[in-house]
């Protein structure tokens, strides 16, 4: 194994891990966006809440990790539905323009993020349920058990969600509501109930992502901000409203960020993400796979 190959392998691995996490949070965001057509910025704090609730159960109350994981994921799902019900639904009834949801979501995000900071303080927390004895080798790169689990859980979750959306009746109903809520209503589909489902599923995915990343790195109150940004960038790159696009965008972002350090110093990684966001928003808002249909104005 040469140094070059080892380095490439390591970068590939890091890209895979980062990409999987990004894809996971992006797909949840995309499912919600596809259903309601506005930016659910608060998705970021749902991600953070998932991690912190898991931490609370596992680290503080000494539950076993699997139970903590499940409880955290379900709590986040409920939080997501709650946000929809008490914030967005009120606005939907008033027929608010898209921007308003974004601003309200922003406000909610700031509120919850700082609530977390108030409760847990500003320090960095760690959650390490897996005993690492040694690392494994992958084409010259080192990979830990935690990392293997992250990749497996992510991919399993992504496949599970994809199956649910494409192959089940509920998934079909979800797609119907996303495409045309009025017609869906006419054929007896309860749009509100299905939007709740979308929020529940999307939020659970965010929580899974948040917990997984915490296993590898750490928890901090601002983790939600970074996350939602990646999710938005990934969704826009892949095509806003496109679920496969979000997954593609997530991995694309992961790879660009990690292989990018071959060319740019690591501290500029964030800058690359922000620049990508602006470039895509301005030049190609439909991303790689999205289509923004030309709408007739009234």
């Amino acid at each position: 194994m040469t140094m070059q190959t080892a380095m490439i392998s390591q970068l590939f691995l890091n890209s895979l891990i980062a990409g999987s996490i990004y894809a996971l949070i992006a797909i949840g965001f995309a499912i919600i966006y596809k259903t309601v057509k506005f930016f659910h910025f608060a998705h970021g704090v749902v991600y953070a809440t998932g991690a912190y609730v898991a931490y609370a159960f596992f680290q503080i109350h000494r539950f076993d990790f699997i139970s903590s994981f499940i409880l955290a994921v379900i709590s986040s799902g409920i939080l997501g539905v709650g946000i929809y019900q008490f914030v967005y639904h009120t606005l939907q009834v008033k027929k608010a323009p898209n921007l308003i949801y974004l601003l309200a979501s922003f406000g909610l995000f700031i509120f919850i993020e700082n609530l977390i900071a108030l409760i847990y303080g500003n320090q960095i927390l760690f959650m390490r349920p897996i005993q690492e004895n040694s690392s494994y080798s992958f084409f010259g790169a080192a990979i830990t058990l935690t990392q293997i689990i992250i990749i497996i859980v992510s991919i399993v979750s992504l496949v599970a969600i994809w199956t649910f959306i494409e192959k089940t009746k509920l998934g079909l109903a979800l797609r119907a509501v996303a495409d045309d809520p009025q017609t869906a209503q006419l054929v007896g589909i309860n749009s509100v109930r299905l939007t709740q489902v979308a929020f529940f599923i999307g939020s659970m995915l965010a929580a899974v992502a948040g917990i997984l990343i915490s296993l590898e790195t750490n928890l901090s109150p601002t983790m939600g901000f970074t996350a939602i940004f990646k999710a938005i960038i990934a969704s826009i790159i892949g095509g806003i409203g496109s679920i496969p696009g979000a997954v593609f965008g997530g991995y694309f972002l992961g790879f660009v960020e990690n292989f990018g350090i071959l060319f740019i110093p690591a501290i500029w990684q964030d800058f690359i993400s922000f620049a990508l966001l602006i470039v895509f928003l301005i030049l190609k808002p439909s991303g790689f796979f999205g289509i923004i249909p030309e709408k007739e104005l009234i």
Partner: protein, 289 residues
């Protein structure tokens, strides 16, 4: 007394910042969520010119504001066609880009360590500048800003600006060059934000990236919305309330560790509630929706 004068000066600077965003958000109706970027460009340009090239703060102020205006023009040009929520994300992204640059370009900006020892404004031949001098200086700039804004707004041009807020399509149908107007307003708003930035830097004499982050942009947006969009009095009120409120907290004796996140929580909650329930803010002339 000294501390009150300090508050007066800071409030004045943020009044200028708030008025500058009000032009873009309140009158033009464009949700610019990255306004701190222009504040930063003014502050850093002016400071770096003074520290590295010995440029007088008076000139630095003008140059810094001009750089900010040019950035405003570029951003306006790149984003004028975007729908409101995409526009909000793009300007937000721009704010993050500038923040990222001042934090990471350590060779120039010293990154998180900040720039200390920024020279102050001096009047005539004084060796130092008294607080009173600064109060008068800020007051003058605030008055100039108010007069300038009023002149723009209460004019046919000002009508055109507001027509874009109310219905851009209808404005185009009446022959208004909405793209040009948007870019111009961006430039002017950025220019005044740059002025505020420069005034801030040369008063505080030390700046670091933390004064120009995401929350700063959100804070200015909150000032404009809380005070009431599209009213000059509203922007002044909004700035005053949000600058003085944390001082009240400090006065009651709430420890900083609790105060900081609590304050942000209140800002978040306020933003959410205003947007949902009272989009016209306190002085309520125009509504966000």
């Amino acid at each position: 007394m000294e501390y009150q004068l300090h508050l007066f000066i800071i409030t004045g600077i943020f009044i200028i910042l708030s008025l500058s965003l009000n032009l873009i958000l309140g009158y033009l109706g464009q949700p610019a969520l990255g306004h701190a970027a222009f504040f930063a460009i003014g502050a850093y340009s002016s400071s770096l010119l003074a520290l590295n090239l010995g440029v007088s703060p008076w000139i630095g102020l003008f140059i810094g504001a001009s750089f900010a205006a040019i950035s405003g023009m570029v951003i306006g040009y790149l984003t004028f066609h975007l729908k409101e929520d995409y526009f909000a994300m793009a300007t937000f992204g721009f704010g993050l880009i500038i923040y990222s640059i001042i934090k990471n370009w350590v060779g120039v900006t010293r990154g998180p360590m900040g720039l200390p020892g920024i020279p102050q404004f001096v009047a005539f031949n004084s060796l130092y500048s008294s607080l009173i001098f600064y109060c008068i200086l800020i007051l003058l700039f605030v008055l100039v800003t108010i007069v300038f804004m009023k002149r723009i707004i209460y004019s046919p041009f000002g009508r055109v600006i507001q027509s874009i807020r109310d219905d851009e399509l209808a404005a185009e149908a009446l022959g208004k060059d909405t793209r040009r107007v948007k870019i111009m307003i961006f430039m002017i708003g950025a220019f005044f934000a740059g002025i505020a930035g420069s005034l801030y830097a040369h008063y505080i004499t030390f700046i670091d990236p933390s004064s120009f982050d995401v929350m700063e942009s959100i804070l200015v947006v909150l000032m404009v919305i809380l005070g009431g969009m599209g009213t000059i009095g509203g922007s002044i009120l909004g700035a005053a309330v949000l600058i003085l409120f944390p001082e009240v907290l400090r006065f009651i004796g709430i420890p900083d560790a609790v105060a900081a996140p609590s304050r942000q929580m209140i800002y978040g909650f306020l933003l959410m509630m205003l947007v949902m329930k009272r989009p016209q803010g306190l002085m309520g002339k125009y509504k966000l929706w």
